[in-house]
């Protein structure tokens, strides 16, 4: 059949088709922005951003656990950002911006789920503590 695909060139899946949307086919891999430099930058940053929180916790660097928690969370946040940019190749223009829109929407839902659950359940816990034996005895 003459309709069999012409994949001999591999990386240029359909770049030689002269008709419609030829610009869509420029990158057969679908991940046009991956370069060795990008991956290595992401990897080195990730190693640093992973090693420091482990060092903080295992070496008891901060006297107050509260400070350590905040710093460790900040490192995780930055590292997630690094992974998004260098490994998942997120930017505002990929897929015409729909990737970023979906990510922002998901981020909003994640924040609502996490903060809402923790906030509500913490207060539930605080207000629904089992009564002490003394209170139980004096109950009507």
């Amino acid at each position: 059949m003459s309709t069999t695909h012409h994949n001999a060139s591999g990386a240029h899946g359909g770049a030689d088709e002269p008709h419609v949307h030829s610009h869509d086919h420029g990158h057969g891999g679908g991940a046009p922005h991956s370069t060795l430099k990008g991956y290595m930058t992401g990897f080195v940053l990730s190693v640093i951003l992973t090693a420091i929180p482990f060092w903080i916790v295992m070496g008891d660097v901060f006297k107050s656990n509260h400070t350590a928690t905040v710093v460790v969370l900040a490192f995780a946040f930055v590292q997630i950002f690094v992974h998004m940019v260098y490994f998942l190749h997120m930017n505002t223009s990929s897929e015409g911006g729909w990737n970023m829109l979906a990510l922002i929407f998901t981020g909003v839902l994640v924040i609502i789920t996490l903060s809402g659950s923790l906030w509500v359940m913490y207060h539930m816990n605080a207000n629904m503590m089992p009564p002490s034996v003394h209170d139980m005895r004096n109950m009507p």
């Binding site: 008709h19 057969g28 991956y39 992973t50 916790v57 995780a76 015409g96 979906a102 659950s117």
Partner: protein, 209 residues
């Protein structure tokens, strides 16, 4: 389009007024897969919220400080991080259309993934043998659910990786296989992002708690 016209004129069949060949823009699949990942992200958000609520309920059982072995977790984290970068190398070789180097890097990625799973299962086995299984306390139930779900994702990722290695080995780096490898790339790196949340929120903050 030209092929359809040729076919019609050659064979004398009824003219066809649509594209008979597959005409997916590559972006469609990757955007759809990205949306799947985002929904997966919501599953993990719920599990993280559950762990956040129940993570302090030890039921007089062992807590994170007694159970978690941070050096082991650090080794585990480095396994997943190394598998991420080797998958990146596989993608780079794929873009250069080098079949054998792509397969080699995919194999290395799979080995790191298996090492990660092995260490995690050893940790689980150790905890259960100590009597700190999922049924011990709400903290341990939520811990095993959250970390186990991530481990299950990694397991399925490895199965997917093996299937893709077979397909690339048989059919080469065709456009379809390249698209599949790109999807698995997103999946694999996404699992690494979730693991950042796990080692920070569960292990490090558990020990700090």
């Amino acid at each position: 389009m030209s092929t359809t016209a040729q076919m019609a004129s050659n064979a004398g069949e009824a003219p066809v007024f649509y594209l008979t060949e597959d005409h997916h823009p590559e972006n469609g699949t990757l955007l759809g897969f990205w949306l799947y990942l985002m929904s997966d992200c919501l599953i993990f958000a719920c599990l993280f919220a559950m762990y956040g609520v129940l993570g302090g309920s030890y039921a007089a059982g062992p807590g994170p400080k007694e159970l978690f072995d941070l050096p082991l977790v650090a080794v585990n984290t480095s396994m997943l991080l190394l598998s991420s970068i080797t998958y990146g190398f596989a993608m780079l070789e794929m873009q250069r259309s080098n079949k054998i180097p792509t397969l080699i890097w995919l194999f290395v990625t799979g080995c790191f993934g298996l090492a990660f799973l092995g260490i995690e299962l050893t940790e689980f086995h150790h905890m259960i043998a100590e009597g700190a299984g999922p049924q011990r306390s709400a903290f341990l139930s939520s811990f095993f659910t959250l970390v186990g779900t991530h481990g299950l994702h990694v397991s399925f990722g490895i199965i997917w990786l093996v299937v893709l290695m077979v397909q690339v080995g048989q059919r080469g780096l065709t456009a379809v296989n390249q698209r599949r490898l790109s999807c698995l790339s997103l999946f694999w790196h996404f699992l690494d992002v979730v693991w950042i949340g796990v080692f920070t929120f569960v292990y490090l903050m558990g020990v700090l708690r």
